[in-house]
Symmetry: C2
Subunit: 362 residues, 2 copies
């Protein structure tokens, strides 16, 4: 199949809009619920035929689930490698489900994803179903409400595997119980620049939270973007877990804002210089490797946050982050670009957006 | 005395105009003639009173020398430290004559300079007189004609120390004979980037030439700017010496142009990226240390040479080089700036010039 992105409502990128609370710092809030169908082996143990029965059953059911009425269904295992990278870059599928862990690998048989608005449902990932809701900005309660609605609707149509005492059963015991992971994608350049970040991240772990890089488990922290999420799911309610995350993240946002205040006060012109140089490079470079772009875009986001630069909306900043990734650049070019070609295309894309949208002070 | 730069014809910067041959590569051509007055000890051995008699005699004579009729006369030893740095940054006086070799030092007693158009005459430097002619671009013959004319006129008014066999006598024996140093200030980024520069500089030495940095003897090479000059003066005629320099420099220019061709052909986008990044930093940085500015301005000059950037004349490039120096920035600010303040002022000055004059491609 050829993936027609225009068939995905909002291209699966509704959260880019940058409309939520603290959207300048918290890019997105996500609730993920792990669910499995009773009577089937977990995907890692299931045979191919069983995995295919699962994906067909989920697809057939989706039509009856109100939250998924308009969802596009994508058979990830039938996508080209470029299409799978594209879905992964949009955070719609995990690295594993996209079969991107080794170069040249295929996606697992029966891998699929349902996408609509803020909602995505991965099929045959580590669990049979991974229900995900993305919200723009800092909106864990909104994401939780929407995810619980989706969960109730799907549970009415599909028999979920559950244990009366432990709760929902999952392939990995760490997810058993609520199967919930609540997370925010948060931009913390102030804490990184003031070297406070180490203490803050340590503090998270004492509160039962953890952090990862932009692309989830095992990925590096790039561009000062952290995914903060709960670590445990067993023995506590969904509301408890999400309230805990909200409280801690609210405190992290305050610490980040304090750090930005300190930077502006004590190192104003050093920071201004650093951010303007980042802008100058993004605005004029002809060759822009992905990792450098992430770091410079972090500077750009901070420059907007500090009101050094105007005209760039949070939406544009989010768009730059997603569309400057290699698979997106290849998609725009209509062919698979080499890394070198992608670096040139990335520089051109970023340059054009900034030429059109950024306004410089007098 | 307070130095009124407006009294200096062209501010002593006539050569900035960028009009000569190969002006994009050769910034300026200079002829210097070392002369001493008969009957006085060399400046390094002369007592203060003797040095003062020399400077008074030269000043009195200047009025009778046609080439110096409109010259401004500056007593360097009566200038403030900032004024002395300013004269040095304009290449009108040497580091020694400006008393800049140690912080807090004074200029030597009787230090002076006459300035008009392309001509400068230092008084009480290593020799009693250092006659200098600067020409824009690559024009050693023009500079030599003008220097010889000045020399004849001054010799008619002042008794020069000479020996019938050796020629003109000078404080340092290496200058004895013609007292001539012919030099060009040349920009060789292509040879530096292709790493051919080592071979070229070695070749110079085999031809009896030598090289120095932007500020002459003992100064570092900054911004890929080299002063190439003759090493010996004894036993050869002025024309021989200058013809030799012209021949070799012509070959160096060819090598530089070849190197630029190789860069464009084999590393086009790498070079473009490097130069555009230099432009982006110059255009947007808020804090610009002097040495970094020199290197980035070298990139800018090359970008103009390769037609990547338009709207910037050679005059503007030369002006940026001179007026972004610390003493010039202090002069413009009307007070002595600290190094930190000068870095901010430098960034502001360069930014404004580029915002006004550079034209970016579509």
């Amino acid at each position: 199949m050829t993936l027609d992105l225009s068939l995905l409502p909002d291209g699966g990128l509704h959260w880019l809009i940058g409309s939520g609370e603290h959207a300048g710092i918290v890019l997105s809030s996500r609730i993920r619920l792990a669910r499995n169908l009773a009577g089937f082996a977990f995907p890692t143990r299931a045979r191919e035929g069983e995995r295919l029965r699962i994906v067909h059953q989920v697809r057939a059911t989706a039509a009856k689930v109100p939250s998924l009425r308009d969802a596009a269904f994508v058979r990830v295992d039938e996508c080209t490698p470029l299409e799978r990278r594209l879905l992964h870059e949009r955070h719609l599928v995990s690295r594993e489900l996209a079969g991107l862990e080794r170069p040249g690998a295929d996606a697992p048989t029966g891998a699929g994803v349902l996408v609509t608005g803020d909602v995505g449902v991965m099929v045959n990932e580590e669990d049979h179903l991974r229900l995900q809701v993305f919200r723009s900005g800092f909106d864990i309660p909104g994401a939780l409400r929407q995810a619980e609605q989706l969960d109730r609707e799907m549970a009415a149509a599909l028999p979920f595997a559950a244990h009366p005492e432990f709760g929902f059963l999952t392939a990995c015991p760490t997810n058993t119980g609520t199967g919930l992971r609540a997370s925010v994608l948060i931009h913390l350049p102030g804490l990184v620049l003031t070297q406070e970040i180490g203490k803050v991240l340590q503090g998270l772990q004492h509160m039962g939270l953890t952090y990862r890089g932009l692309y989830g488990e095992g990925s590096d922290v790039l561009g000062n973007l952290f995914q903060i999420s709960n670590q445990t799911t067993l023995g506590r309610s969904e509301e408890d877990l999400s309230d805990q995350l909200v409280r801690v993240v609210r405190r992290v946002i305050e610490r980040e804002e304090e750090a930005r205040g300190v930077l502006s006060r004590d190192a104003g012109y050093i920071i201004e210089d650093k951010l303007w140089r980042a802008y100058g490079t993004l605005r004029h470079a002809r060759n822009l490797p992905a990792e450098e772009a992430m770091n410079l875009l972090s500077g750009l986001r901070l420059a907007v946050g500090l009101n050094l630069l105007s005209g760039l909306s949070v939406y544009t900043l989010n768009k730059l982050l997603i569309f400057s990734q290699s698979a997106h650049l290849s998609h725009a070019a209509g062919r698979v670009l080499t890394d070198g070609e992608a670096n040139l295309a990335r520089a051109r894309y970023v340059r054009q957006i900034l030429a059109n949208e950024a306004r410089l002070p007098g």
